[in-house]
Symmetry: C2
Subunit: 358 residues, 2 copies
DNA sequence: ATGAAAGCGCTAACAT
DNA sequence: ATGTTAGCGCTTTCAT
């Protein structure tokens, strides 16, 4: 009877104070020590079945939840990981995130998403924040402004596991996951060539990004293999990937203004693909007859664009899954890992009306 | 000289152990107590200018950063807020999130995003996690599966500030932000009527959601005002908002299979709008001549759809900003707030080819 | 003006 | 099998 009263009062106390149940409450109510309760809760073999049952049932009744903040402070890990991307309002990245989450969920990790909006400053602030929140690891795709990697290097040197995806860097030794950007661009370009286009342009993102270089190399290689000379004026860099107003329009205008006009475009990102389509439509350029186009995009709407857009699709979901699996391996490894892997996943070209002359 | 050595050694120690500098380190190195350092760091008036300067400079040199986990544990607040939405791969929600982040950033709050993927179970797990991570408040748009609100009610009763947006509930008294869904649907329907459509269907999401009811009411009201009888068979509910395979296709097929066929559609969400467009294209239905369509969508690509899609656009960015401002007011209020506000922001109808007969 | 000590919730080394 | 204690990093009350 006394015990019953005690339980009641603790419950009421906590309820009045609007605070969560703690191990201490349970210990007090049950006349045990906090360590016993703690051990019982985690099913330690040192605790008698009887006590375990008592504790477990009481904890259940009070809907006890361990305080992860306290756990993090103690263990210096949080079973959560941080994602650093430029934009979530982007099919590719939101699909990658879904891949990450699917693995995280099944392995009991929580995911904190942050956006840099292509700003170096924001990227630094976000990584600092995530690190200070004791994330166990980081999944990073670099912002377009990022050239100095010291914010990440420092954390990595301190032992924080990091896996890069999509926009990776050669400056850091760790696991990386990318789409086969070279092949994707190669296929797109080769396909345009075989469709009869001659002056194929490449509208792409900031020149220093890893993916930009890979895609440009694929584009060049396809040209070379078909004996088409490379023309620098056909490559247009949109520093902010079309995120900034007018960027794509200017690129398109430049291509249309060339003495020897471009007759097709390989667009290097989601935003650029749709941006080119929009710009061309506004200027009444007939696609594909006046201008063919193939775009890197993970949009699910390519079929209802006008015209339906030929696309190079990145395996975004798998990129996310692979990156998360790699990160968990790093986090949970008992021994320091010294050999790292760069996983390259295949892209998929789907031909639609935008690249096939009528 | 001795002090210099001490500094060196602490730095080295920490550096070797790959751990962050703590107040304790600073105290030890400077021969002060932790409380003095703590006070100096926050500029307490009780500390002499001399000591303050010493501490501040040393902290600066070692790049000291307070440990937010420890702060959270102590203060039971974290200067971070949680977002609970169904999907970030959705123009509307990613735009709302950008609005939230813009305010959060300027006010020094961090944002943790979580997705329910329309699953009640995930929504509950996510809210529990966020709460246990000591977020200072929650910004919530309910999942389609959610009918039981006890997970949120409990937290709210315990004093956790919550602001609802988009998919709100009448069961809880707090601030809410929505688009003027009634008006949006009314305008869309009235516009289709004035364009000469007669059998206007409504393809919408789960019937119990607040926004569904509001939009349905607007649709009905427009019909009534134009003396068109309401026909239940013209309203099709897609329980998962088109997230599940074939949902939208079935709705479209049902409308096409009616004895008195529908001749226009008001689609109630991003996914449903594009889903209907896709389904109609596949079935070779000519838009708008055989079927007109206006959709609730925040896509930026409506102009390059075929045909360009007439849209009801929600002020997503402002919804996010308003919700975040309201939440901060709740969080930072000294006194308990008892009177709550539901802010209704206007939608915008843009007429494009999909709803104007040729 | 500064220090000692307690406590936030939890775990684990060390008793017993 | 269970309890005591210390400690994670920080703030704050209470001494001095």
């Amino acid at each position: 009877m006394l015990r019953f009263c005690a339980r009641q009062s603790v419950f009421l106390e906590r309820h009045m104070k609007f605070e969560a149940i703690t191990i201490k409450d349970i210990a007090k109510a049950l006349g045990l020590s906090t360590s016993t309760v703690s051990r019982a809760l985690r099913g330690s073999y040192e605790i008698s079945e009887e006590t375990k049952k008592l504790v477990l049932e009481y904890a259940e009744k009070l809907n006890y939840r361990p305080n992860p903040i306290a756990l993090s402070l103690k263990e210096k890990r949080s079973r959560s990981i941080g994602i650093v991307v430029c934009e979530i309002a982007n099919n590719f990245f939101s699909q990658v995130i879904n891949g990450i989450e699917s693995i995280a969920y099944s392995k009991g990790y929580y995911v904190i998403i942050s956006q840099s909006h292509e700003s170096y400053e924001r990227e630094v602030a976000n990584t600092q924040y995530l690190a200070s929140r004791s994330v166990d690891g980081l999944l990073v795709s670099l912002s377009t402004e990022t050239t100095d990697l010291s914010h990440l290097k420092k954390l990595h040197d301190k032992g924080l596991p990091i896996v890069f995806f999509d926009r990776i860097t050669e400056e850091m030794q760790t696991h990386k996951v990318i789409a086969n950007n070279f092949n994707g661009a190669y296929q797109a370009t080769a396909h345009l060539i075989s469709s009869g286009f001659q002056r194929i342009a490449h509208v792409t993102i900031a020149s220093h990004l890893s993916i930009t270089k890979e895609r440009l190399a694929g584009y060049k290689s396809a040209l070379a293999d078909h004996n088409i000379p490379f023309d620098e004026s056909l490559v247009r860099y949109c520093k902010y990937g079309g995120l900034i107003y007018g960027e794509t329009e200017q690129a398109v205008d430049a291509l249309l203004g060339l003495e020897k006009k471009a007759d097709a475009i390989v667009a290097a990102s989601d935003k650029l693909s749709t941006g080119c389509l929009t710009a061309l439509a506004k200027r009444n350029i007939k696609i594909p007859d006046q201008m063919g186009i193939v775009g890197f995009t993970n949009s699910l709407l390519t079929d209802i664009f006008y015209p339906p857009l030929s696309s190079i699709r990145q395996p975004a979901l798998e990129i996310g899954q692979t990156a998360m699996e790699m990160l968990i391996r790093l986090i949970e490894s008992k021994h320091p890992i010294t050999s790292f892997e760069t996983r390259v996943l295949n892209t998929e070209l789907t031909v639609r009306a935008s690249s096939v002359k009528s």
